[in-house]
């Protein structure tokens, strides 16, 4: 299978690999996918107020899955939570020129962003409560 240059670039030089302290109140963690499907993404965000100041990921999956999550961390950094929530998987497909068979990778990345945001919002709400 031929990969686009952008997928190869993210695969060879993934951005923001790593982990944030998942116990921190300012960190949201989203883990989506399953090993039997061949993809698991962990995406973490750190917020200050409403703004995402840092993002990290780790992904078990094909090159397109790695690239999708790497790109997702780049895109969410600096955005507000609402802005990050509006990121759509089709934008990832377009940016990385993913073939139809790899669209699920972009869906997973979008899900990971949403899951991380939901997690940090949850933490915030429970603190307030």
């Amino acid at each position: 299978m031929a990969y686009s240059d952008k997928v190869l670039d993210h695969y060879n030089k993934p951005r923001n690999v790593g982990s944030l302290d998942k116990a921190s109140a300012n960190v949201g963690t989203g883990i989506v996918g399953a090993p039997e499907c061949g993809d698991v993404m962990k995406l973490q965000i750190e917020i200050e107020g409403d703004r995402i100041v840092d993002a990290k990921f780790k992904t078990f999956g094909c090159g397109s899955a790695i690239a999708s999550s790497s790109l997702a961390t780049e895109w969410v950094k600096g955005k507000t939570l609402d802005e990050a929530l509006s990121i759509n998987n089709t934008e990832i497909v377009e940016e990385l020129s993913l073939p139809p068979v790899k669209i699920h990778c972009s869906v997973l990345a979008e899900d990971a962003i949403k899951a991380a945001i939901a997690d940090v919002k949850n933490k915030r709400d429970s603190e307030k409560g």
Binding site: Y11, P35, C37, G38, K58, G61, D111
Partner: protein, 405 residues
């Protein structure tokens, strides 16, 4: 060293220059049709085919009249299974095979099921091997055929062919073995190994693509087949179609060469396989060997690198031509049916790589491959949330995965 390094000898092999040399005249001056009885062109082609038949038969301990030429193993498998089913279907409707077979066998079995045959698909054990006991337990009064591969193409496990063949002969059941990966790699003797039908493919043993043959036993028992191709009645009525003379000559030369060098090649493959495995396993933790340690093709090494997904691993080692047991590359997210039938678990199935070592593989290539695999697996594990969880002591089977897609 030429890149990418070819380590996919179970997929296909390069044509040996000596095989090519033997074939060339039959593309040129010796172009006759082996079925032309009325002139020297035909006689010469017929003689070449006849000599080839002898050489091939000798390689597997058969007689020349028991060799039926085909376009390869897939056709030979279809002819063997459908031919037996059509001929003996009135006697019984039950066929035994295994889940770890090649798709050519599995799909042919499915075709026969649609025609009213009853097929038992045995599960291999965790090493990919089917036991004699399992075959015996599956046998019924109406069993007419047992079809089991000799060497598995994905994990290299060898089935106990001689024992299964004996069981079949004791019970009066025909025994077909897909020996595509075995001939030329291990000693094969259709008499001692109690085989009634066996297929060979030239391109797996340094011959050309598009040619193979089916061994059909002529005595004790005499196996009869209903032909699956209508036409001029070539190959004693079992397979019509003008013979592929250069291909047949190539297959025969490939068989002869593999017979002559069987011992040295076995040693060569074993040494390189052990070197590769040791070099990888000395430097990486959590490497899983897929296959059977005792009953194994020397040139096949199937390893899983849990917590690293197969396709991303292949992408990282793109200087090495290997296959992944995970079929993500073929656009379906299904892992290999062979690994699945061995019940190795998803992490193992999704992260498996098959290294195929052959006649032209060198130590330098093996060392390059090992270094590359170690480097890429380490890098991808740094990226893997699963590996991180395992290091944290989390049991992955207890995690509640979302698996939304």
């Amino acid at each position: 060293m030429k890149l990418p390094i070819y380590l996919d000898y179970q997929a296909t092999t390069p044509v040996d220059p000596r095989v090519l040399e033997a074939m060339l005249p039959y593309f040129g001056a010796e172009f006759g049709n082996a079925a032309s009885r009325s002139h020297a062109y035909g006689w010469s082609a017929e003689e070449a085919v006849s000599n080839a038949r002898e050489k091939i038969a000798k390689t597997i301990g058969a007689s020349a009249k028991e060799i039926v030429f085909t376009s390869g193993s897939t056709e030979a498998i279809n002819l063997a299974m459908k031919g037996v089913a059509d001929m003996y279907g009135a006697k019984g409707k039950h066929i035994i095979t295994s889940q770890a077979e090649h798709k050519a066998v599995l799909d042919t079995a499915k075709h026969l099921e649609k025609q009213g045959f009853d097929v038992t698909y045995l599960d291999p054990d965790q090493t990919g091997r089917v036991s004699v006991e399992a075959v015996e337990a599956a046998m019924r009064e109406d069993t007419i055929l047992v079809s089991l591969m000799w060497a598995n193409n994905e994990v290299g496990t060898l089935n106990p062919i001689r024992e299964i063949g004996k069981l079949c002969h004791d019970r009066g059941v025909l025994f077909f073995t897909d020996a595509t990966q075995a001939v030329g790699k291990i000693p094969v003797d259709v008499e001692a190994d109690n085989i009634d039908l066996l297929c060979i493919s030239a391109h797996k043993l340094y011959g050309p693509k598009g040619v193979g043959c089916l061994f059909v036993r002529r005595r004790k028992p005499r196996v009869r087949l209903v032909s699956q191709m209508d036409g001029g009645g070539h190959e004693r009525g079992m397979r019509s179609g003008t013979l592929n003379v250069p291909g047949i000559v190539g297959l025969a030369e490939a068989c002869r060469l593999s017979r002559e060098s069987l011992d040295s090649e076995t040693k060569h493959a074993r040494a390189l396989r052990e070197r590769l495995e040791k070099s990888i396993c000395d430097r990486l933790d959590h490497v899983h060997f897929n296959g059977n340690r005792e009953h194994h093709l020397e040139g096949c090494l199937n390893l899983s690198f849990p917590y690293v997904e197969g396709e991303s691993l292949l992408m990282g080692i793109n200087d090495i031509a290997v296959s992944s047991g995970s079929a993500c590359t073929s656009a379906s997210l299904e892992p290999s049916h062979v690994l699945r039938s061995m019940k190795v678990g998803d992490e193992i199935a999704h992260s498996s790589i098959r290294f195929g070592i052959g006649r032209f593989t060198t130590e330098e290539e093996i060392d390059f491959c090992a270094d590359k695999v170690v480097e890429v697996v380490k890098r991808l594990r740094e990226l893997s949330p699963l590996y991180e969880m395992v290091l944290e002591g989390i049991d992955l089977s207890t995690v509640n995965w979302t698996g939304e897609h």
